[in-house]
Symmetry: C2
DNA sequence: ATCCGAAATGTAAGCGTTGACATTTCCATT
DNA sequence: AATGGAAATGTCAACGCTTACATTTCGGAT
């Protein structure tokens, strides 16, 4: 049987309330008592029961995190940012993997609710209107990361400006002499991010007077194999179309595209330039090092936590709601060739 | 205010105990009552409070997971395996990142203890004797993954046979005509896995009558940059030593080594063969695809959970303790050249 | 010495569940 | 109709902690 607050109290010759106070409001207890109780705690190896505390104060010092998939390569950085910032505020994070399923994501909310989380960070490709009922009923703050809000419920969204970033990526390519630029975009139907990046691509072309050709864009679900397959389809359209560069909506897809090109005996960047999106840790590990736009995943996570902490403190379920754009950055490496 | 079990009870005209029973022992309640209570729950959107339940039954349906670092590339797979198997048993996993620090790892135990976890999966480079006091005092089962037990406390360890696997890797290299094989090993001092793999390397050489030359081995801490630096040191020793292949103790270090080689204008596998260890998802994404030994991370995690579940049920803190070797597998890809 | 307010500590109820035990209901026997 | 026992339900304390409120202690001002 673990040692409880009462055991400590008895051993120290005080009441449980006093022990509780040395834990939570040490300023309220006599310095002598404080020392005594503390040393007793030490001696007895007392560790407060977070569950009991949670029940008593009616909320745990915990925030929930719902992610679409643990194995998504961006997950690690995002989690790191969230975890570290949470710790700074004495919060614990409870993880929930929605496995890219809408139903599981929805379940996630009530699951986390059962754990009395003080707030929830939600990451997903998409937040649609079917979330509204749940969201509305939730009496704890929710922050979105890496997603655009599309539901009616006002929710803050922490992300980069995907349109702008992709626009700049195209501009970068153009500045290197490219005019025939393909796109491997995110699956449109179920994903707002994919749409935003595609729009950025279109705007980029338009801005430089390059006509948009739908044949130059293929779609995928952000994974390596999707990138590979999309590149393959692009290649199959030759010689109908010709490309000097491909812009992928995610690093993983960019790697897939590169692999596909390599398998066809094409070299990057000599024969084809490829850019990605995300700047995953692996982007700098591969050959050629991938030119891409960096998303500050850790900052995005940390920022979301900060917002949550504030919202929790204010007891508003919606502090300053809106889109919070975090700065992206084009990381120039080796996967783009300059055309004269 | 969330709806509680008593609210449901009132609304359904039964006692809280009955509601509790429909939740936990539906067989004990009249089918009519069952339906009624259930529909009331539905209607009121009742979600049981896991915290209160945990306090009442004196343990949460939760297991703790302590990992050395979230950003370690193998983490995702391991977590996935653990999470999925846990779910199957109605368990939730609570994550704790020790950030590669011994102190934090130790803290992890009491932290998780505070959450009344029913068991703990511990992953780390090293479990030394200083863990013993804590481990011994813990009244919940603990399973190790990816680590060898070095502490006195008997703990089950789920991992691959590192010695054997590295041995086979060397054998593979030899079968491809290599005799001058370098090694990028794990930092010896603080890491048993590193030692095991080095031993496998030595045994491999010995088995094939190749003299062991300490100048051919360099050390790193498993990260990309360590691999890069170690490869650099190896290269610097030329022409004192000559190498046709390098065996890295981790995929990430193998990638670092490859980058280093590339930066020196050397091609893999034409100029140098490289093998890794882990078979991370990225191993198949890079060019050349990395030949490596696959660790079944997900299975390792799942297996550990299964053991834990059993130990929890048996209420032994140590069911069948010992080393559980999971099958590894050499994955032959493109980073090794056959020498005639 | 006396009194007062502040400081320190104690008391006890309550957080939402569960589970041992007690009570009631119901049905099959007789 | 009476009875026994199983089935269904209810009562209440307990889980470990916090917190509002009550009580005691203390030090200074009178």
């Amino acid at each position: 049987m673990r040692v409880t607050i009462r055991d400590v109290a008895n051993a120290a010759g005080v009441s449980a309330a006093t022990v509780s106070r040395v834990l939570n409001r040490p300023d309220l207890v006599d310095s002598e008592t404080l020392d005594r109780v503390r040393s007793v705690m030490e001696m007895m190896e007392y560790h407060p029961n977070a569950i009991a505390r949670g029940l008593s104060v009616r909320r745990s010092e915990t925030i929930g995190l719902i992610v679409p998939g643990i194995t998504d390569l961006f997950f690690n950085e995002l989690y790191k940012g969230i975890d570290q910032e949470s710790q700074r505020h004495g919060l614990k994070v409870l993880l929930y993997d929605s496995e890219h399923s809408r139903e599981r994501a929805l379940e996630g909310f009530s699951f986390l609710g059962g754990y009395q989380v003080a707030g929830i960070i939600f990451t997903s490709k998409l937040v649609t209107e079917d979330y509204d009922p749940i969201l509305q009923r939730l009496d704890i703050p929710v922050a979105l990361t890496l997603t655009q809000r599309t539901s009616k419920t006002p929710l803050p969204a922490f992300r980069v400006d995907d349109v702008r970033a992709t626009f700049e990526l195209v501009a970068y390519l153009v500045s290197r002499g490219h005019r025939q630029i393909g796109m491997i975009a995110g699956k449109q139907s179920d994903d707002s991010t994919g749409q935003l990046r595609l729009r950025g691509y279109e705007q980029g072309l338009q801005h430089f007077g390059i006509p948009f050709d739908p044949r130059l864009v293929e779609y995928g679900q952000y994974r390596f194999d999707d990138g590979y397959a999309a590149m393959q389809r692009l290649l199959d359209k030759q010689p109908d179309i010709t490309l000097t560069a491909v812009c992928a909506a995610a690093d993983e897809m960019a790697l897939g595209a590169i692999r596909c090109l390599n398998d066809h005996g094409l070299r990057v960047p000599e024969d084809m330039s490829v850019v990605g999106f995300d700047d995953l840790p692996i982007a700098r590990m591969v050959t050629p090092r991938l030119t891409t736009v960096a998303q500050p995943f850790a900052d995005i996570g940390a920022e979301a936590v900060r917002w949550l902490v504030e919202a929790i403190a204010d007891n508003t379920t919606s502090a300053e709601v809106g889109d919070y754009f975090l700065p992206h950055r084009i990381v120039e490496r080796e996967s783009v060739r300059t055309i004269m």
